[in-house]
């Protein structure tokens, strides 16, 4: 437990002091201001425009930050040999992968908490103060569930990067491979639901292939702004299943990554 806390401590300290971290927070604050301006051009549903825009940027900034920071953290550890000082202390390679993963999941939580708070309360405040009679009610409780869902997905992306970093040292290659998985995971999910809606019109081979990929690739869709606005109900069963899948997938990635890293030469 002390080891896990140690990794969480150093990962947080190292990453929250990056200039890019403050840049991301500032960029998101500017996005909120811009989204308010954007609502002026919407005649029918300004609350939805506001929430759609701020949520899309929240997801984009969280995913991008997690991808960049996780890749950079591992790349520095391996390429610059920061890992030597850790392994030399008797920390096993499996513990290193587990500890770093835990640290990065905690960092994702802090990132989602900071940006998510700005998203929820910023949108709530803008909605309340400036959208007048056209506004819809923002449900903070549902918003917290949306943030939880986003954190789970951000952590999963982090673990995908950890997995690739256990056998690749090049920053660009790890980043690229992780982006490919992220995009494939997001696309295959839409395809999966589409083929199940149109079962009769799609050949069984394609259907099985897409179903296979749906279960082998991680899923990155999270609850959207419609839940926050109450347009869509909170589907707790779907959320629980999604969470279970993310936990199992994350555990699988860390386990396989640890086994690979155990055999790796760190020259």
């Amino acid at each position: 437990m002390g080891m896990l806390m140690g990794f969480a401590y150093i990962t947080l300290k190292e990453n929250v002091r990056r200039r890019s971290f403050y840049g991301v927070v500032l960029a998101y604050l500017l996005t909120l201001v811009f989204s308010r301006i954007l609502t002026e051009f919407s005649l029918q549903d300004p609350s939805k425009v506001l929430l759609d825009f701020t949520h899309t940027f929240l997801t984009f900034l969280v995913f991008l930050s997690v991808l960049f920071i996780t890749t950079d953290t591992f790349s520095k550890d391996i390429e610059k040999k920061g890992v030597y000082l850790i392994l030399a202390k008797g920390v096993s390679r499996e513990s290193y992968v587990l500890g770093r993963s835990f640290g990065l999941v905690v960092f994702s939580l802090v990132l989602v908490l900071i940006l998510g708070t700005i998203f929820l309360f910023g949108s709530w405040l803008l909605n309340l103060l400036s959208l007048g009679v056209f506004r819809k009610e923002i449900h903070i409780g549902a918003g917290l569930l949306v943030l939880l869902s986003l954190w789970v997905k951000a952590s999963l992306i982090s673990l995908v990067v950890v997995f690739f970093s256990t056998f690749m040292s090049n920053f660009f290659l790890v980043f690229l491979a992780s982006v490919v998985v992220l995009m494939a995971g997001s696309s295959i999910e839409n395809l999966y639901y589409f083929v199940h809606l149109e079962e009769d019109r799609i050949s069984p081979v394609i259907r099985y292939l897409i179903t296979f990929m749906f279960y082998t690739l991680p899923s990155f869709s999270s609850h959207g702004p419609d839940v926050v606005l109450g347009i869509e109900g909170v589907d707790l069963d779907h959320f629980a299943l999604d969470l279970l899948k993310a936990v199992l997938y994350g555990g699988f990635l860390v386990t396989i990554g640890s086994l690979i890293f155990r055999r790796r030469e760190i020259a």
């Binding site: 140690g6 150093i10 300290k13 040999k81 920061g82 030597y84 920390v91 096993s92 390679r93 030469e265």
Partner: protein, 240 residues
């Protein structure tokens, strides 16, 4: 005396080139052992094999009588790599706290060790600063501080004097001798021969991946002559 570190016929190749050609030697408990060789002789590769960062093609390494593949054996080892990399956004003290948490060092003991060793290495005033603000010499001394933090029985130091000014070299040499007086074993690589003469009990020469000599006693005072003689015999271009 008991062997603390034992290397048996270590061979290692990179891309078809044999870098280590059957390296064998042992380090006894309580001694300061110098590992001397010209650039590219295989010193750092040997260090990495001892620490299990890379695996030999053949041969075995034993630390405290146990295989070096067992990570728990490194709990009693302090290691300083040749060019230590530290996280740039954290302070020296925060990095040490990370090690404290990872190694489960009790709070009082941690404070005592940090205070004692940081003063000895004259780095105590800088522990609150970010590691990115440290000079090369400060990083080297900080590297030694993190290596002794766990109070190890065996210290493995890869070029500990590199990047240090004469004062820094003196501080590090004094600390090595003090640790020896406290019964610790120190194994360090270097190509600075006067340091070996001054602080080592024994040393070995490695040239082109082969151990050529184990030098001890009075012979340590003429290590430079022995070293140059071997280099001429073997004909290492980089040195000559």
């Amino acid at each position: 005396m008991k062997d603390i570190l034992l290397l048996k016929d270590i061979r290692k190749s990179f891309g078809g080139v044999e870098v280590l050609k059957g390296v064998s030697f042992s380090v006894r408990a309580g001694e300061v052992f110098g590992f001397v060789g010209p650039n590219g002789a295989g010193k750092s590769t040997t260090m990495k094999i001892i620490m299990d960062f890379i695996r030999p093609d053949s041969g075995e390494v034993y630390i405290f009588g146990r295989t070096n593949r067992d990570p728990s054996v490194r709990r009693r080892v302090g290691f300083l790599p040749e060019h230590p990399y530290f996280y740039t956004n954290v302070t020296g003290y925060e990095f040490l706290r990370f090690l404290k948490m990872t190694l489960s060092i009790p709070g009082e003991e941690f404070r005592r060790r940090v205070e004692t060793y940081s003063r000895k290495l004259q780095i105590d005033w800088a522990l609150g600063k970010k590691l990115s603000e440290y000079s090369k010499g400060m990083l080297q001394r900080f590297g030694l501080l993190q290596a002794v933090l766990s109070d190890p029985d065996l210290l493995i130091l890869d070029e500990p004097m590199s990047g240090l000014d004469p004062i820094g070299r003196r501080l590090v040499a004094d600390l090595i001798l003090e640790l020896k007086d406290r019964g610790k074993t120190v194994f360090f690589s270097t190509h600075i021969l006067p340091d070996v003469e001054r602080i080592c009990d024994r040393s070995c020469l490695i040239i082109e991946g082969r151990i050529t000599d184990i030098i001890e006693g009075e012979d340590l005072h003429r290590i430079e002559d022995i070293f140059m003689e071997r280099v001429r015999e073997i004909g290492v271009r980089e040195v000559l």
